[in-house]
């Protein structure tokens, strides 16, 4: 644990001085501030932030993660020539990335909200859920990017798979789901659709936010189905559980591959 915390410390030192991280934070601040000052309606702001959480945050996380692993290959090889456990090094780099991107996300969202704090007095719980969802999406997509970049030595291929992965979960997946629902519309599909959406981390975040916001019926078929079946409390619990599973499995797969990989 000591070595792990030391690696995380230096990873964070490096990340917090990075221009890219500063640019990401600044973008989030400008986006959130613009949204609040232009809309002026806290409910609409929360919904727009949700869209940020389910599109931009996963994209930035998967791109940063993939580029980082490819650019740091020589550094990783060098570190592995030191007396250090492979798993610890992987976890150190992963945690450093997760913490720095999550911190950028929280800062970028919170600062403008604090500036307009009185607008959001009644929406504190919603803001909290948006933040937690954003952190989950950051962790999940960094985990995926690390797994993809470690599995594929070819940068171009790895980068392509990462972008496709993001596109799949944000756009293609819902298209496939709609197609299935339309094709089998004569059958009771509530439980099946529930099962299908639980394999998409972006839908899970969307569902969690909309469930808590009591506008699920406006936000698509799947959210309405989940609310119908579980009610808000259970629905939220299950989505958090599934998001946790999503946060863990790419990490574990990445760790397993890294441990076996010839560097």
């Amino acid at each position: 644990m000591k070595v792990l915390s030391k690696i995380v410390k230096y990873q964070l030192q490096d990340a917090f001085r990075s221009r890219w991280l500063a640019a990401y934070t600044l973008f989030l601040i400008v986006f959130s501030y613009g949204l609040i000052s232009l809309t002026g309606d806290s409910s609409k702001v929360v919904l727009s932030l949700m869209n940020l959480v389910i599109t931009i945050v996963p994209l930035i996380s998967i791109v940063f993660g993939t580029v980082y692993i490819y650019n740091s290959r020589d550094y990783i090889v060098f570190m592995l020539s030191q007396p250090i456990d492979r798993k610890i090094l992987f976890l150190g780099v992963y945690l450093g990335m997760c913490i720095s991107l999550a911190a950028a996300f929280i800062t970028g969202i919170i600062l403008p909200i604090l500036f307009y704090a009185n607008y959001f007095v009644n929406n504190l719980a919603d803001i909290f859920i948006v933040l937690i969802s954003g952190i989950f999406e950051t962790i999940i997509f960094i985990g995926l990017s690390f797994y993809i970049a470690i599995k594929n030595d070819n940068k171009l291929k790895g980068f392509g798979i990462s972008i496709f992965c993001w596109l799949f979960f944000t756009v293609i997946f819902d298209g496939i789901l709609l197609m299935i629902l339309q094709q089998f519309q004569d059958y009771p599909l509530e439980k099946v659709s529930l099962l299908i959406i639980s394999i998409n981390p972006i839908d899970l975040a969307r569902i969690w936010i909309t469930l808590s916001y009591d506008i699920s019926s406006l936000m698509g078929y799947t959210s309405a189905v989940i609310k119908d079946i579980y009610g808000t409390g259970w629905g939220s619990f299950i989505t958090i559980l599934l998001l946790t599973v999503w946060a863990l499995w790419p990490l574990l797969l990445g760790l397993r591959n890294f441990n076996r990989k010839d560097m």
């Binding site: 490096d14 990340a15 020589d74 550094y75 060098f78 592995l80 030191q82 456990d85 010839d262």
Partner: protein
Amino acid sequence: MTAITAENLIKDFGDFRAIDKISLSIAGGEITAIVGPNGSGKTTFIKSILGLVKPTSGNIIVNGVKLNGTFKYREQIGYMPQQASFPENITVKETIDLLCDIRNKTGDLSEELINKFNLQKEYNKKIKTLSGGTKQKLNAVIAFIFDPEILILDEPTAGLDPYASGILKDKILSVRKGGKTILLTSHILSELEDMAENVIFLLEGSIRYNGKVNDLIERTSSSNLERAIASLISGVAV
């Protein structure tokens, strides 16, 4: 005393056999050069010793420790890769601190290489602002700073100016006198001839020669190591 032993070492990358049944012993307290054309298996062999590449079969023993996923043995190794890369937004001093922290040791910051390379004046500069040569100097300092028993130097003088290269060669020879084991690769064979007692010549993943440098020159009736290696490549049996 043997520092590194390889027993029937095989490494396959898919269908390609990078190392083909290598068995050898590397003497402790001496300088051993590993030479061979590109793709002959030098880097794979070095990476196997460092645990970066997992052998398909066979064993490697470093200072009596059989490698099977262990990492503690690397405390005794100083490695200088051909091209090291460090997190670009941390400073030279922080990079050295990082390695001291990981090894739980205080590096010897009065180390002669730091002074001779005049690296103190770069301490507070971020890695991304350093020239390639300065990064390579830092790379060399890190390999030596913990006074390891075994030094593995992969093309150590590549990227260094002749002055810095001379300083590094002197340092290699002085630690050799201190009884350290040094394993090095270089494409500049005259440089190896000046420093190494032993040479291992690899071709297509197999050992074609493993012995004293002088013996090789004599047995191939060559005037120097470069010509001796050329003879080996052209098929002269030794």
